[in-house]
Amino acid sequence: MKIRDGLRINYIYVFFVVFFILLFLRITYLQVFRKNFFQNLAQNQYYRLIPLSGKRGAIFDSKGRILATEINTHSVFADPLFIKDKETVARILSENLDLPKQKIKERLMQKKRFVWIKRKISWSEKEKIKAMKIKGVGFLREHKRFYPQDKLTSSLLGITDIDSRGVDGLEFQYDSYLCGKDGMVRVLQDSSSHEVILTPQIITPQEGRDIVLTIDSQLQYWVENFLEETIKKFSAKEGSVVIMNAATGEILVLANYPNFNPNNLKEFSPQLMRDKAVCDMFEPGSVFKAVTLIAAIEENTFSDSDVIFCENGSYKIPGSTLHDVHPYGSLNFRQVFEKSSNIGVGKIANKVGGQKIYTYIKKLGFGDKTGIDLPGEIRGNVKPLSSWSKTSPYMIPIGQEVGVNLIQLVRAYAVIANGGYLIKPHVVKGIYSQGICKETPVERKMVISALTAARAKGILEDVVKKGTGKLADIEGVKIGGKTGTAQYFDVKLKRYSQTQYRASFVGFISDLDPPVVIGVSVFEPKGSHYGGVVSAPLFKKIAEKTIKYLGGEKMPAVAAANQNQ
């Protein structure tokens, strides 16, 4: 009996020893070999990672007015696992968030732990839903891009997507600077899913850099209004205006009409968003005659008194016939440009020579991108000399068979206004980051002599005083410029349209120091299609405001006129 009892005890002893050894091995396995797995599992339950989004940089105008900024907002999400009555929750959310009930229900039916209901809602919407205390519905703090000036400068600024990434305009071009870097914070989470800030581990988010533009939004406002008035008056399709500081290349105004409200992307369309001044190519017409003017002066081919016979309005050239709107007989060199005679300019260009005209076209920056810091700039179309037809030496100098954008034209006229320098236009004045500013340098190179520029300036001032640009004239102020009326080349029909025109005026205010160049282009005006009738008055309105705003007191002529009043 005793032996049996001893055996039993031994069995129990062995059993327990084996049990504890197995237990020890299991514990060792769990604690040593599976340590990381279980540690992660526990940490995932105890800790929560909260993303901290790096705020996107703001965009200011040259006077410090906010053009684009970020505001805090909330997005609604749901954890479908927690929502039992999906039908009711979908109905409540639909009523308060202005979303279709079915769409919400579909999202709630998904077998996920996280679904977006609506992103970037208003404060009142958030407060309403929060007050309902719906289980399984939560909010995440996010940033939202906000454009306080609404439509103003919209085509220049562009837009961002829902995740605050730039998709067009300046927002796209400077996305790498504007974009902040996201951070993260790890906090403890209690049993009720409340965040407890206990020894938080933070990866600090980095704010994006702020950008200061050369644009003046007050001037932009006036110009956009004037442009809209003109477009409506002439029932035109679209139009653009550019104002540039001729000495530095700073773009003071870049206006397009029609435009869009970046705060309301429901009315958005890619056509509205296109920056027409930069991305649209057109045949410039007579505004391009400035190239021939410069070439003839720089090459010393003509003096002011040289007479050119303008064939009384019709002149046969190889392969075509040149016409003038008004027939002219003999005109001197200056008068050819004052009256904008196609025949006169054609003859001047022919004497200067195709090779040299081509050289000056390239020298003035046509056919190449200006390098403006905006996306989608069109290069334009300047045929290489080898591709010129028999008509090209006559047609190109009068602004046909050549494609340009408005910025290129403004830059070419700036060469005349600033004494011979080809400048790189820019819209960003500087990029600011933590008190450090990286300013955009002025890039320029001399392409014509100061004397040539001065002589061309004088002739273009006469165009405004006595010639086709009379409606742009402001009494007591020196203004130079050139009108342009170009027929639209219909690519589908492969011929010039008889109804579609582009009326342009590009000019400069010589009296301002530094001078400014203003380029105006209106597409498909009705009633009248002449640059001198449609665009010159618009130029005048803009020039008057610009002079007043940018400091007429500095201009002796204007100051004298003011004193006489």
Binding site: I71, N72, R141, K151, L152, H194, L198
Partner: protein, 119 residues
């Protein structure tokens, strides 16, 4: 003696553990308080942002210009110049006081600043 020392040790250990636990709880209580304040501060920041949003929207270039056009408001185009003139100093009757004022550089008389419109 040994028993007494052991008892004291146990009591000491108990008190130390209790204090440790108390401190640990206090840390959690503070953490909860901070979390609550953090939440509150976030809510206030949000409210402020919405107010700034409304303010910025109402003071945009467009709104200001529209208001100016509606009310025919135009800033003066002539430059206002401040014509700062100092009035003739009134001479003190007391010679000692005058000398004292001169020594310390105390100005006498009243100065006037007149704003005049430059014609």
């Amino acid at each position: 003696m040994k028993k007494k020392s052991f008892a004291i040790f146990i009591v000491f250990l108990f008190i130390a553990s209790l204090t440790f636990l108390h401190q640990k709880i206090l840390i959690y209580v503070e953490a909860y308080k901070i979390s609550k304040n953090h939440r509150l501060s976030n809510e206030l920041v949000d409210k402020r942002d919405y107010l700034v949003y409304n303010l910025t929207k109402e003071t945009s270039v467009q709104k200001i210009n529209q208001w100016a056009e509606k009310n025919n408001f135009s800033p003066t185009e002539k430059v206002l110049a401040l014509n700062l003139r100092r009035a003739e100093p009134a001479k003190p009757t007391n010679k000692v006081m005058a000398m004292f004022n001169d020594l310390l550089g105390i100005p006498t008389g009243s100065s006037t600043a007149l704003a005049g419109e430059k014609e």
